[in-house]
Amino acid sequence: MDFLRPAGWSEALEAKANHPDATPIAGGTDVMVELNFDHRRPETLLDLTRIEQLREWSRTERNGVPTVRIGAAVPYARLIEELGTTLPGLAMAARTVGSPQIRNRGTLGGNLASASPAGDGHPPLLASNAEIELESVRGSRTLPLADFFTGVKRTDMAPDELIAAVHVPEGTGPQQFSKIGTRNAMVIAVCTFAVALHPRRRGVGTGLGSAAPTPRSATEAEEFLAGALAEDGQWDDPRPLPASVTERFGELVARAAAPIDDVRGTAGYRTHALHVLARRTLSWAWDEYRSGTELSGRQRCA
């Protein structure tokens, strides 16, 4: 097995162009599992850990929206530490990834490249309408995350492309993330759900994990809720949400799921749990919005 260790980004892109079969590796927490279990035996690994720029994040603006550009190799621990208030939904999800050791090394870019339906980082990115920046020696392109996932562990990436960064619009309203696991720590999701309220554009974002072949949004639920909030004038004068609204939102989220039975849970349970999570996370997010917290999503605490 060849192990390529480019020192810089352009060198990495060159390497990927020359070795389109090379498996990129950063934190290693996804790729190494596959290798240790002999599920994969790549000829070439492309180690991205030496590339400084992949380990940086910055505030930018995209289409007039304040956005955080997160380099593909920023580990989860830093998302929690440094972006907890700016991207609360993502930070909440990052806190549930693997173990503290894994969070020290695992990266969002790696998670995206693996494209596991169970990736914890995906739902909050979908809920925030994040975009992914791919680059190759041919140039760079940015596409909505929803278009990036094409199947179970499959993506839209060309063989010569690498993930450069993820662009996540800064939160303008409450965000929540919930993950079901059958243990109280260090567990792969049975299912996950993320919701983000976007008061500035009067929109709602959602993301579902372990609920379909790819991470996905519950578009119908988003539209229903945005419509209901607009219709009742709730954005400007927030009042408690009628149970009928939260219930309907839960139903539509559950309907967006196409889960399977596997060793971690049944399809029936996943659908049920997503319904409950959608209802609960919406009510938490809405409570926060009502209490005037402009930007929150942080955990409540005794």
């Binding site: 599992v33 279990f37 002999d38 909440m92 806190r95 549930t96 929540q176 993330f177 919930s178 993950k179 079901i180 696991g181 059958t182 243990r183 109280n184 720590a185 260090m186 567990v187 792969i188 049975v190 060793v263 971690r264 849970g265 049944t266 029936g268 349970y269 049920h272 749990a273 409950v276 999570l277 609960r280 938490w284 955990q299 409540r300 605490c301 005794a302």
Partner: protein
């Protein structure tokens, strides 16, 4: 064995001199090595010129082997040997009770994961690659996968030529047909649990010049391993020398052979040291698991709550080979009514062969499964009688002088009612203050943020259990200890040598404590466990402090007797008037006579003793026996559980235990055993299950076989009482197993209390709770 052949990082004497005799809690003599990372586990061993072994396993639960072609594997560079059943030098069968399991499969494979061929190569990766080159032609057969069906349907294929029943045992007491005012019944199932010790199977075999082999390994029982290995290798047992290396947990999973014969075969064939280390996935195939069970129960009681009868049919799935299935059936049926006094009992137990993964020993052997069922039944009965479940248990609790279903009179304390009363009195956790926002870390789901209190209901439940201690039903159960007392640099030093496996339970500490108390010396070293001393039996059945403790005590007393005799002669005082105290020999008449070291001079006193506990007897065809089991132990748990009733997620908030340990030889270790046993019972209650479909394990990894983390295991109040057993050394009563048994039903009872669900299967999953 000459030192030049010794592995690097070999097991060493434990010589930490830490004061503390029986009843104290000195630090572990192996503790410093363990915290510093210097303790040599079997997987840490290494020898010059060493090869690596790997095992080819059957992909099918049931198949006929048409042919095996090892040619391509053998020609592969770096490969030094490829062995199949034909290469087994001696008897190609082994087993703990029934000798029914091939070392390497011959014409058939009976479970997915059965060993078929072996490779030795100069690199582990090379060995694994070579496995892929071995071509086995299988004729796949329909597997037998349902134990209950196997017990009654003669048309099913026979897993073994003698049929599918490993053991059938009925227990009948009183009138099996009697009726009662109130009757409750239920069907309960227990999933397949794994020991999941953290250090996977491993061993290093070094061929010796005398034609024998030295094996360094992690096991629970050196001599039983040796006996089986020698027979398979066709060697005199004296030529198969085994030395215990660090054991990374056991819990029953190291009672059966795994790599022992394989690694020795490869070493003897290649003439080089060979090491085999399983990875986690292989470990799931390489050892036995806890028997899944299906249990039909019927309890009858008077309106006042006195048990009138218990009737039950228990089906244990033993998988492809017998292993400890006969004992599981014995324990399951004899203990099947629980720690209760019942006049009329009718229990039938079946242990069956199937093509599922083989099942055998795990902590609480055979007692875990029925405890879940009978305690669930007691709760059902309490509900039917509108009685408090603890009061119902106390009312029917067995006590000293009562007769068990097998007709054995309990001639030692059996403080079951007292344990229940005590555990009930332990402080409960504070309920969250009304209106306060909860800390999500304390809620079901924890940091995964699934609830902020919505749907969360608290429940409290109780469980109590009975477990037999030591081997039973007529087994000659004994251990051996050699104790040597000598003068080292003017100080008396005792060396304790046994074959009893330290698996983390603290046996080396206990041995030191006993020697210190008996010989009144400070310095006690522990010799590495090996087969150069007599058998100790297995570190299982909560028996080692009892039997090996007894052997060390006896050997120390024999040494003391000789020491006092020498002193008596030298000082002209009657030996009966002499005693040991603080490293000195003291005469009742004239006070201190001499230092022990001084009397020893350059002579060492060495004595070897066996300790046999009281005789037990087999069950007859109605399950009667004057003494089927030598001792019983009891524990009671109370669980406080928060359940997210909408999502089916669980947080065990507190788990408390009262247990009678007879005599706490090491109080801190006793608490550690209760904590650890309870954690494994918690695992069975809410998360641990090997999922088997059509004979295949679907979750052989720590990603999907979940064991409790530090966040799943709640704080415990542990209440230890000491009601000594007059028949046992120091009055000890086995400690390790009971807490694994009573914790599971207590937790499930608490979940029932919170949810109102029936919950007839463990582990309880979210699906069971939301219904």
């Amino acid at each position: 064995m000459s030192d030049t052949h010794a592995p690097a990082h070999r097991p060493q004497d434990l010589d930490d001199a830490i004061a503390g005799g029986v009843g104290e809690s000195p630090l572990r003599p192996d503790g410093t090595l363990k915290v510093r990372g210097d303790f040599a586990y079997s997987s840490d061993l290494w020898a010059e010129n060493m090869l690596w072994g790997a095992t080819l396993r059957s992909p099918h639960p049931s198949a006929r082997i048409r042919s095996v072609d090892i040619g391509p594997a053998l020609r592969s560079p770096g490969v030094h040997a490829v062995l199949t059943a034909e290469d087994v030098p001696g008897r190609n069968l082994y087993g703990l009770k029934d000798i029914d399991q091939p070392v390497l499969a011959e014409d058939v494979v009976r479970y997915r994961g059965e060993a078929v061929a072996l490779v030795a190569a100069d690199h582990p990766e090379t060995a694994r690659r070579a496995l892929d080159l071995i071509e086995v032609d299988y004729e796949v057969l329909e597997p037998v996968v349902d134990a209950e069906l196997a017990a009654h349907d003669d048309s099913l294929p026979k897993v073994h030529p003698g049929g599918n029943t490993v053991r059938y045992q009925p227990i009948v007491k009183g009138d099996p047909e009697v009726t009662a005012d109130v009757v409750v019944s239920g069907t309960y199932t227990v999933g397949m649990q794994d020991q999941a010790f953290l250090g996977p199977e491993s061993g290093l075999a070094i061929p010796a010049e005398d034609g024998g082999v030295d094996l360094y390994l992690a096991t629970q029982d050196l001599h039983t391993d040796r006996k089986q290995t020698a027979a398979a290798l066709d060697l005199d047992p004296e030529l198969v020398r085994m030395t215990m290396s660090g054991v990374g947990g056991a819990f029953g999973g190291r009672e059966d052979l795994s790599m022992q014969v394989h690694v020795c075969m490869l070493a003897l064939r290649t003439g080089r040291p060979v090491k085999i280390v399983y990875d986690r996935e292989e470990s799931f195939f390489g050892h036995v698991h806890r028997h899944p069970a299906k249990m039909y129960y019927e309890h009858g009681a008077t309106r006042d709550g006195d048990l009138v009868f218990v009737r039950a049919q228990l089906y244990f799935d033993g998988g492809a080979y017998a292993s400890k299935t006969p004992v599981v059936v014995g324990n399951g049926t004899t203990l099947g009514v629980g720690p209760y006094d019942v006049a009329n009992v009718s229990i039938q137990g079946w242990g069956m062969y199937t093509n599922n993964p083989p099942c055998g020993a795990m902590r609480g052997l055979g007692a875990v499964q029925p405890a879940f069922a009978y305690e669930s039944q007691m709760d059902r009965l309490a509900e039917a009688l509108d009685m408090d479940p603890v009061e119902l248990r106390i009312r029917n609790a067995i006590s000293r002088g009562d007769t068990t279903p097998t007709g054995q009179v309990l001639d030692y304390p059996a403080p079951v009612a007292e344990l229940l009363r005590r555990v009930r009195e332990l402080p409960l956790p504070e309920a969250p203050a009304a209106g306060a926002e909860p800390d999500i870390r304390d809620l079901p789901g924890g940091a995964s943020n699934t609830t902020h209190g919505e749907g969360v209901v608290r429940g409290v439940g109780y469980g109590v259990c009975i477990k037999n201690i030591c081997y039973a039903e007529g087994a000659d159960d004994f251990s051996t200890a050699r104790v040597r007392l000598q003068n080292v640099a003017g100080e008396p030093l005792a060396m304790v040598h046994t074959a009893a496996a330290e698996v983390g339970q603290g046996l080396v500490t206990v041995q030191q404590q006993i020697a210190r108390s008996e010989l009144e010396v400070e310095r006690v070293n522990i010799h590495p466990n090996d087969t150069s001393v007599g058998p100790a039996g297995s570190s299982s059945a909560s028996r080692q402090t009892y039997v090996t403790g007894g052997a060390v005590q006896a050997a120390c007393r024999a040494v003391r007797e000789r020491l006092l005799a020498i002193t008596a002669e030298r000082f002209g005082e009657p030996a009966a008037e002499l005693s040991l105290s603080g490293g000195k020999i003291v005469s009742r008449e004239s006070g201190v006579l001499a230092d022990i070291a001084e009397v020893l001079g350059s002579e060492a006193i060495e004595e070897t003793r066996e300790y046999h506990h009281r005789e037990t007897f087999p069950l007859d065809e109605r399950g009667r026996s004057e003494r089927a089991q030598v001792q019983h132990a009891f524990s009671a748990h109370r669980a406080v559980v928060d359940v997210d009733t909408e999502l089916g997620l669980i947080k065990v908030v507190q788990l408390d235990c009262s247990q009678d340990v007879g005599k706490a030889v090491n109080p801190e270790s006793v608490v550690g055993q209760i904590q650890g046993g309870s954690a494994q019972g918690l695992g069975l209650a809410v998360m641990e299950e090997i999922q088997v479909g059509e004979g295949k394990i679907r979750n052989p990894s720590f990603t999907d076989y979940l064991i409790p983390t530090i966040l799943d295991m709640p704080p415990m109040n542990v209440d230890v009482i000491e009601r000594g057993d007059p028949n046992a050394p120091y009055g000890v009563r086995g400690v390790g197993e009971p807490p694994t048994i009573s914790s599971t039903p207590a937790i499930v009872a608490a979940i029932r209390a919170a949810t109102g669900r029936d919950l007839t299967h463990v582990p309880v999953g979210p699906e069971h709770i939301i219904g």
